[in-house]
Amino acid sequence: MENIVKNETRRDFLKVSGTVAGGLALGFYLPSGPRVAQADGGGGYASPNAWVRIGLDNVVTIMVARSEMGQDVYTSMPMLVAEELEVDINKINVEFAPPAEVYINALLGGQLTGGSTSVRDAWEKLRKAGASARMMLIAAAADQWGVAADSCKASDGVVTGPGGKRATYGSLAAKAAQMEVPKDVPLKPASQFKIVGNVRQKRLDTAAKVRGTAQFGIDTMIPGMAYAAVIMPPMIGGKVSSYDDTRAKNFPGVKAVVQYSRGIAVVAEDYWTAKKAVATLDVRWDAGKMANVDQRSIWKGLEDASQQPGAVFREHGDADAGLAAAAKTVTSEYRLPFVSHSPMEPQNTTADVRADKAVIITPTQFQQLIPHVVAGATGLKPEQVEVQTTFLGGGFGRRVEVDYAIDAAEISKAAGMPVKMIWSREDDMTHDSYRPAGIFKFTAGLDSAGKLSAFRFHSTSPSISSRLFPSIVKDGIDPFAVEGIDNFPYVADGGMRFTYQMHDTGVTVGYWRAVSHNLNAVALESFIDELATAAGKDPIQYRIDMLDMGSTKHQWSGLSAGVPVGARMKRALEQVREKSNWGKKLPAGRGQGVAVMEGYNTVIAMVVEVTVSANYDVQIDKITSVVDAGTLIHPDQALAQMQSCINFGQSACMWGEITVKDGAVQQNNFDTYRVARINEAPKELNIHFIKSDSVPGGLGEPGTAVVQPAIANAIFAASGKRPRTLPYTPENIKAG
């Protein structure tokens, strides 16, 4: 994502420079301005660097530069700082950081939260930020006492020195901020961790979320604020042709009716009035290019495109010759539909756009982009746009998009007042950026022993990055469209070829939790099960026997390039076989299915047990998973992310399907777009993490993909039917 424009916004005190430490950008406040700043409302503080503020009252604030959408960055990232800063993690304050260059995610090239990168990017960087601040506090104390720095020690927010000398961080903060920034910042070995890996550590945001005081975007209140409800074209890419707002304008409490780029907004003194008034608008739409698009035309388009050769993204030997020489070939095709993000908090933004500045308060995963797009929409300069990130009521990739922030800014500007724009559930579900649909074709050659000898894969799906980050799309390959299979972990000595055919269906597509792992790995791990069946082998042993133990992963996006995965997969599969009691006797109608995947530098093996009724209704009885995610920073929340991924993947593969008719999305709420309820959650869920001291892997996403083929394979084991079209509805299972 190297094309992301660098952010130039600064707060006055936030003068940053970038130095490089250990290959990661580590930024510090420049000494040019005062580094002792007065915080709003009194209580001064000093900042040794961009992540740490030490209050003169000894209260330590740690800045979190990623968006908290459930995945625990609010706790896990400060844990990394606190580990080296030597402060009590449970006594710190946390603040969400504004957009600034220093906070750029080195793995993604922008200040955004996604790609299961937060902890991976932070792992060294934030510990170094904590250690560097601690060293500056010690240096300040040593200087003050006239002793050597190495005769002093920091612990629990206090520096101690020879002869019983003692000073709190708060008393040293102002001086510490003036000390030289250390160049060499050694880090603790894992054996000395007190905070990182603490299994009893609680989330720092739980109390606020349990007491109802956590501020989501939708809770935002600013002085003079009005509420905006909107109506947007039902057809994807449609436009307002004309409208009659006579009734809406005359509604008591309505302040303005404004047209903005995408639709029409009613701005009123309260949300209910705005919502009622917007329903009275009589709008004529220009349906645009999607007017005649429906499911049939979308799938016809994908089918036709899938006849094209596509672009090769991985090749080894001669796959065609290998297939011709095979003792047996197996061919299969999988189809996956569009699915919706639908986080519980509908999209919203509070915008106050004035002639010379704008304030945007929003639940976003991509705060860095907002000043630029709001500047573009309002005529302001990016540095005139202040962005405040709230808690996110779910993200899942939807909030990487900044569309709703642009809309709110346009509405505020047109109405001439601060507004909180709130989408309804219906607005949200019908104006999502959907997980791409696609067709996934496989041909495998097996030798006389049933072993994989040649492999051919051809996928056809829309490219997300072509819209959002076009510069990373090269030679017909979107790296985010081939993940989950570009790291194909099995050996096929006779040759393999992997191709991708890009095809735009007109439906807006976006990054959806685990992105194309949900396409490629779901299809692949189902197909591998087909091969095991064709070879008459046990699905776990068959995978283990075929793993490529020598190779390193081939990852286009470079997020975890070069990490050998064969051995990690083998270990995870062996452990899940044992822990799931794999192969145990089950009554008729029940079955176990397995899947394994590497994604985001995390390896997950999973066994799902299901019951399939005579009508092909599926109940998930038990899930056992073994996860190798390297070092766990906050183990209980690593577990929570696996629980979360399983739920999200289950919803998608069991019921998730967005369909289009006359260019419009047909599902608009949870009655037509079904997601898992508590009664559908697995009855038993056993997640085991492999103890490891290697670098952390990502956990926010990969489980979402793995659970889906594991469910499909369990359905096959239970019913003899293999669903190749998702979701796994009774109709699609029956057709398998």
């Binding site: 459930g70 349990v210 007491r211 986080p343 979360s644």
Partner: protein, 96 residues
């Protein structure tokens, strides 16, 4: 009785007593159990989950998994906190 505020018109509860998450007081056993088990992820649905859970416990002192599933299935969580919600309701049932 627990109702969802996003689906309830204020006129329909005229003259009745309404308790919201703030009304649980912060130290309600459901809230204590939720904190002890770190139930919330994004947290957005959790006030609703806790209001339903407190309504369930008000009429069923010791709910089974089936009772919990039946009573709580109207509250959607997209983060997948369901296993912890089940455990937290059982933990709350044991608290005074």
């Amino acid at each position: 009785m627990a109702v969802r505020s996003c689906q309830t018109q204020i006129g329909s509860v005229a003259g009745q007593q309404v308790t919201t998450i703030e009304g649980l007081g912060g130290d309600h056993r459901v809230q204590r159990a939720w904190m002890a088990l770190d139930v919330p992820q994004c947290g957005y649905c959790q006030p609703g989950q806790m209001m339903s859970a407190s309504a369930l416990l008000a009429m069923n002192k010791n709910p089974s998994d089936q009772d919990i599933d039946a009573f709580m299935s109207g509250n959607i969580c997209r983060c997948g906190t369901y296993p912890r919600i089940r455990a937290a309701i059982k933990a709350a049932a044991k608290m005074s």
